[in-house]
């Protein structure tokens, strides 16, 4: 497990990341969300050791990460970076060697990844001759090349077409299946919903909340949908009930506790027919929207 403990980074007077603590559990995908400028990239750079933290530390399985640990991490920076004028295979082998792979191993692994992205026959092409989407795939291959022990991916899905997103997701799932903790930032909340077991939410450099989907849902306000006939307008007067929305026979309400739910249901049955009374399970993107308002 990767653990970020009280990380802080200032740029001059501005505190970009302020005392942020969260965990990226092994074998799980953790989504890292927050508006632009929330401090996601700065946090990821500190995790990778590219930026020095002014306070706090990064722990791997309970001990401070070293440069040697980080060399086994896979990293995809926000600003994509490879050599435009170099053949793809050459630069992947070079990066693999820098990550302490043997040349032969780096070459076969690069070949394997390129084939998965349907780029096997373009391995000798210069990077700049590829479309932007394909360059992005090469960038992903570069971060996965050395069979990383931890994956830190800054906006890995931006610029990918749906097919590429699917093969990327498949690759990431293979890594989590092998126990790798994956932290990725994204503005695509539907993807976050689909992929994440965990969520970390930053706002203006501070941690808003973090945890597993179940933990976050448990902490979210308890909302229920009620459909009754002839009309749901009466719910406004019930005690312990906050009305979110009422339209004709339908109402969405927030309830203080379980007692309030039982009271509401009893009242509804007394007033007419109850067609639906159900707990609304919020999506992670709804939770994100809820906490970042």
């Amino acid at each position: 497990m990767l653990h970020v403990q009280n990380l802080t980074r200032r740029f001059g007077e501005h505190t970009a990341v302020d005392d942020v603590t969260f965990s990226v559990p092994s074998a799980k995908m953790t989504g890292f969300v927050g508006a632009n400028g929330a401090g996601k990239t700065t946090t990821m750079r500190m995790i990778m050791g590219v930026l020095t933290a002014h306070a706090g530390e990064v722990l791997l399985d309970g001990r401070t990460v070293t440069a040697d640990d980080r060399a086994t991490f896979g990293y995809m920076p926000e600003e994509r970076g490879l050599y435009p004028k170099q053949p793809i295979i050459d630069q992947l082998v070079y990066l693999g060697q820098l990550h302490r792979m043997s040349q032969g191993d780096a070459r076969s692994r690069a070949q394997e990844l390129l084939e998965r992205f349907q780029l096997g026959d373009r391995r000798k092409d210069k990077l700049e001759s590829l479309s932007l989407g394909n360059q992005q795939r090469v960038q992903i291959a570069a971060s996965l090349l050395h069979r990383p022990s931890v994956l830190i991916l800054d906006e890995p899905f931006s610029g990918l077409d749906p097919v590429a997103v699917d093969s990327m997701v498949e690759l990431l799932r293979e890594h989590t299946a092998q126990g790798v903790p994956v932290l990725f930032s994204s503005h695509q909340l539907d993807l976050v919903d689909r992929l994440c077991d965990n969520l970390v939410i930053l706002q203006k450099g501070r941690l808003v909340t973090s945890g597993s989907g179940d933990e976050l849902r448990a902490a979210a306000p308890r909302r229920h949908r009620l459909t009754v006939s002839p009309d749901a307008g009466w719910v406004r007067e019930e005690a312990g009930v906050t009305v979110i929305d009422v339209a004709g026979q339908d109402a969405v309400v927030e309830l203080d506790n379980d007692d309030a739910a039982q009271r509401l249901l009893t009242a509804a049955m007394a007033r007419g027919r109850v067609h639906e009374f159900s707990r609304i399970r919020p999506t992670l993107s709804e939770i994100y929207r809820g906490v970042s308002q």
């Binding site: 590219v50 600003e79 069979r147 597993s212």
Partner: protein, 412 residues
């Protein structure tokens, strides 16, 4: 939140793939060095320019040799026996001297006829004597130095023997005691000539290599900075190793190229037989390579820093002025410095790369002098690479162009 046992790095290798060789891989700086060399040697432009330069060097040597050995034939219009004797004497001297300058007398009837021959282009010049005994050499538009020199010397000996005979003496008697031998306390006159040629060659080679490979280093740094590859590299290896690899790789390339150029020139000199002086150049060339290495290391560190401060390759045009000035100073030392100035220059790092080998060609230099100069250069190289590393480490992660002062204040 569930806690799962630590993922072992080696425990999740996809099946069938060989495990990465632990400890069996090369050090990072060596991987970077090899890449720098490979990328450059695979670059077609680099291969072509190296080849063209090699051809130019050999062609230059061969052309020089050809010009030196090329025979000249002069025909000269004369009207008198005296004129014919002078031309015959010049012919004798010319053939004796380098074996291939010939003078031929064309006897005509009158001064006007002689001048007509010149005008018509049938002869190279007319050698005529007026009533007062004064000789005139008349050409059409110019008189070649070979022609006037040969005839002038011949006329002098002709007059000397004629006049000596008139006074009952001989030229030998008249010239007795007039010979001046030349010697130098330090070095030899022959070395002086070699030194001036070699000085130019050393200076120019240093200038070329320092700029070509220096810019290559700076460009390779700025490329990684601009493309943000450096952010990935920095997570894999210490940035310091990246700098070392770049400096070392390009230094190797520069040294190999320089040795190739020098080798080609010496070989061509030998083969064309113009190599009387080569023996004197070789030891100095060896020293030059050693001095070049140290001077280049200093410049390489500077170029790397310039690259890390720039944001685009175009920025280098503006920021490279100080380094270029230093390289020009080295070139200038090779071309112009003499005496005390040269002695001082031979201890100034970078400039010493050219100045010390030239001093060693010019004069006897005690062995401790080049060694001391190398130690100074080595210390400067170490200090600059250390300083360069600090700036490089800070600046290269920072997007955009930076001033040196700003870079020093940055934190990582």
């Amino acid at each position: 939140m569930s806690t799962i046992t630590k993922p072992q790095h080696a425990a999740h290798q996809p099946e069938g793939a060989p495990p990465s060789a632990p400890g069996g891989t090369q050090p990072a700086w060596l991987i970077v060095t090899l890449r720098e060399v490979m990328v450059k040697t695979k670059d077609r432009g680099f291969a072509i320019s190296t080849l063209v330069t090699l051809v130019l060097i050999v062609a230059g040597v061969v052309f020089n040799a050809y010009m030196d050995n090329r025979g000249e034939d002069f025909s000269v219009a004369v009207i008198s026996d005296a004129g014919r004797s002078v031309v015959a004497l010049a012919d004798e001297e010319g053939r004796a001297d380098d074996g291939n300058t010939a003078f031929e007398a064309v006897v005509v009837g009158s001064d006007d006829a002689a001048l007509d021959e010149v005008r018509g282009g049938d002869v190279d010049a007319a050698l005529l004597q007026n009533e007062d005994g004064l000789w005139t050499l008349t050409g059409k538009e110019e008189v070649s130095p070979g022609l006037s020199g040969g005839l002038g010397a011949a006329l002098e000996s002709f007059a000397l023997s004629t006049n000596a005979a008139a006074t009952g003496s001989s030229p030998q008697e008249l010239l007795a005691g007039s010979e001046l031998e030349q010697s130098l306390l330090e070095g030899s006159t022959e070395n002086q000539a070699v030194a001036s040629v070699a000085g130019f060659a050393f200076g120019f080679l240093f200038y070329m290599a320092a700029i070509i490979f220096g810019l290559q280093i700076a460009n390779s740094v700025v490329e990684e900075k601009q493309n943000r590859v450096v952010e990935i590299l920095a997570t894999a290896i210490p940035i310091r190793q990246l700098l070392y690899g770049k400096v070392l790789g390009n230094t190797i390339l520069a040294m190999v190229q320089l040795a190739m150029y020098g080798g080609a020139a010496l070989l061509a000199l030998n083969l064309t037989g113009t190599s009387d002086l080569v023996g004197g150049i070789i030891p100095a060339s060896g020293w030059f390579l050693v001095f070049f290495l140290f001077g280049f290391l200093i410049l390489a560190a500077m170029w790397a820093v310039l690259g890390s401060l720039a944001s685009r390759p175009e920025d280098l045009n503006n920021s490279s002025a100080p380094v270029l000035a230093l390289i020009l100073a080295a070139l200038g030392a090779g071309l112009f410095a003499t005496g005390q100035l040269l002695v001082v220059a031979s201890y100034v790092p970078v400039v010493s790369s050219v100045a010390m080998p030239i001093r060693m060609l010019n004069t006897e230099v005690a062995l401790w002098e080049p060694i001391l100069s190398l130690v100074i250069a080595l210390a400067a190289a170490a200090a600059l690479i250390h300083l360069g590393e600090k700036i490089y480490r800070r600046a290269v992660m920072q997007p955009g162009a930076l001033s040196l002062r700003k870079a020093m204040k940055l934190e990582q």
